[in-house]
Amino acid sequence: MRTWMTALMLAASLALVGLGGCDDDGGGDQTGGAAPADAGAGGEGGMGGMGGMGGGDDRCVDFPDEHTALLNAPTTATVIHKTPTHPPVGQEGLP
């Protein structure tokens, strides 16, 4: 029973991390370690909670280039999921 509950709590925690990791505009600022790049491959066993985000979000699995893959690679470092405060992006000429 204790093992099952631990697994459930772990799955829920990972789901929260994953949701923050691929949603730049969602929720408040969150801090914590993250493994977003492989989070999208979740969706089995105790990590089933991540399937809604990661499993269907190829953008966070198949990166378009090496640079982007490096930026988003799994890390043990602290990651902060910030809610941006800039106005909606329109014709500002963002790169």
Binding site: G20, G21, C22, D23, D24, D29, T31, A34, P36, A37, R59, C60, F63, D65, E66, H67, T68, L70, L71, N72, A73, T75, T76, A77, T78, V79, I80, H81, K82, P84, T85, H86, P87, V89, E92, L94, P95
Partner: protein
């Protein structure tokens, strides 16, 4: 126009110092033993202050006579043959009561010229063109940059898009980025500063094209550090932000707070600090490619007919900075780490030019173990020496590296 790129795979972390007021008794800089005149970025002074005292007191002394300015201005002294004038600093050896190295001042005689320049950006970034054929350009240490706020600010991160709006529009109505909406509290440098140029490349607004609304421009990294720190208790901490090199930040962590940064295209991960945590000193995210605001320290020097730096002192200093040879206790790797820079041998990514995309790097002679030992105070690597060789891997800088 042929580009002379002299290979510099070593440690080079020079932080240009702010010029100290002239002493009452002016000393001719040229009279110092083994004087080499260096114009350089103000971000390299912490490194120079570490190695300078040891080099100037070596058996064959090399005294770094340093004029701290913005990176592009530093290059002008070499590229445009600008005369050095005023007062420079140097490190004669010895320590003050607080443990800091003794810093001396001297005056340039009329007609003085820089033997070399140190810049965190390339000639091409500053001028739009490669260096002339008679000027060598060598890359060395990795120097990071970031956004800083006063400790009393509640902010912890900034995204590249926020940075874009901040610097492109400068608080213009409808384009604001709360809480940084008040231009007088957005502390920037100048278009000649590598800090501003490299930060600009990271947020998509060239450092030469930031909003004219941003008038809180500081002439040196020391001045910017002081300006941001001064707002900690004025009631303006929350709306204050600035840009600073990691070398400068690491020497003032009790006065400032570094923000985590989320680059363009990094929304699958989020924002990260240059280090693995806000408190650590390991530069993990700079080294492994998660934190992209960095550039190489470049040494530029006029070349002689043989293709080597024309000035013997400049050649020695460039060789030292880009090498791994310890000279009279001055360690181009360890001193770089302690100053807040990253030797190339500890990097796992590289880039082809300022602001270029990151590429994975497998350094041929890595120094990760030594870096971790110096930066973090400990390493899981096995220690080694001539009497205790490695069971596996290569013994380098006292530790068994994987290759």
């Amino acid at each position: 126009m042929q580009r002379h790129t002299l290979r510099w795979v070593g440690a080079l972390s020079l932080t240009c110092a702010t010029v100290t007021p002239a002493a009452a008794q002016a000393l001719d800089c040229a009279s110092l033993p083994g004087a080499v005149f260096v114009s350089g970025t103000t971000d390299v002074k912490p490194y120079l202050a570490r190695v300078g005292p040891k080099l100037s007191t070596a058996d064959d002394p090399l005294t770094i006579v340093y004029l701290g300015v913005g990176s592009c201005t530093a290059l002008d002294y070499v590229l445009q043959d600008v005369e050095l004038a005023g007062t420079a600093v140097y490190w004669p050896g010895g320590e003050n009561a607080d443990g800091t190295p003794v810093e001396g001042t001297c005056d340039f005689a009329p007609g003085s010229r820089a033997a070399m320049a140190l810049s965190d950006v390339t000639v091409e970034t500053c001028t739009g063109a490669p260096p002339p054929a008679d000027v060598g350009e060598r890359s060395s240490l990795v120097q990071g940059f970031g956004f800083v706020v006063p400790p009393n600010s509640s902010q912890t991160a900034i995204t590249a898009t926020e940075g874009y709006f901040l610097f492109k529009f400068g608080g213009e109505a409808g384009k604001q980025v709360p809480p940084w909406t008040d231009p007088p509290f957005v502390f920037i440098r100048t278009p000649a500063s590598s800090t501003q140029l490299l930060t600009g490349l990271a947020v998509g607004v060239l450092g030469s094209q930031w909003s004219p609304n941003l008038t809180a421009s500081q002439n040196g990294s020391g001045a910017l550090l002081a300006a941001v720190a001064a707002e900690n208790t004025t009631g303006n901490a929350e709306k204050t932000i600035g840009i600073l090199s990691l070398q400068r930040y690491d020497s003032a962590r009790d006065r400032l707070k570094m923000l985590a940064f989320e680059a363009f295209g990094q929304d699958c991960l989020g924002a990260v600090f240059p280090d693995s945590t806000a408190q650590s000193l390991d530069k993990q995210n700079v080294r492994d490619g998660h934190y992209p605001i960095w550039g190489y320290l470049w040494g530029m020097a006029p070349l002689g007919a043989d293709g080597a730096p024309a000035d013997a002192g400049a050649a020695r200093l460039l060789d030292f900075i880009g090498g791994t040879q310890v000279v009279n206790g001055a360690d181009p790797v360890a001193d770089a780490v302690l100053a807040g820079a990253v030797p190339p041998c500890a990097m796992h990514v590289q880039r082809a030019y300022d602001g270029a995309p990151l590429q994975a790097l497998e350094h041929p002679a890595p120094c990760d173990c030594a870096f971790e030992k110096v930066a973090a105070g400990s390493t899981a690597c096995v220690a080694c020496d001539d009497a205790t060789p490695c069971a596996a891997g290569i013994c380098r800088f006292g530790f068994c590296e994987a290759r």
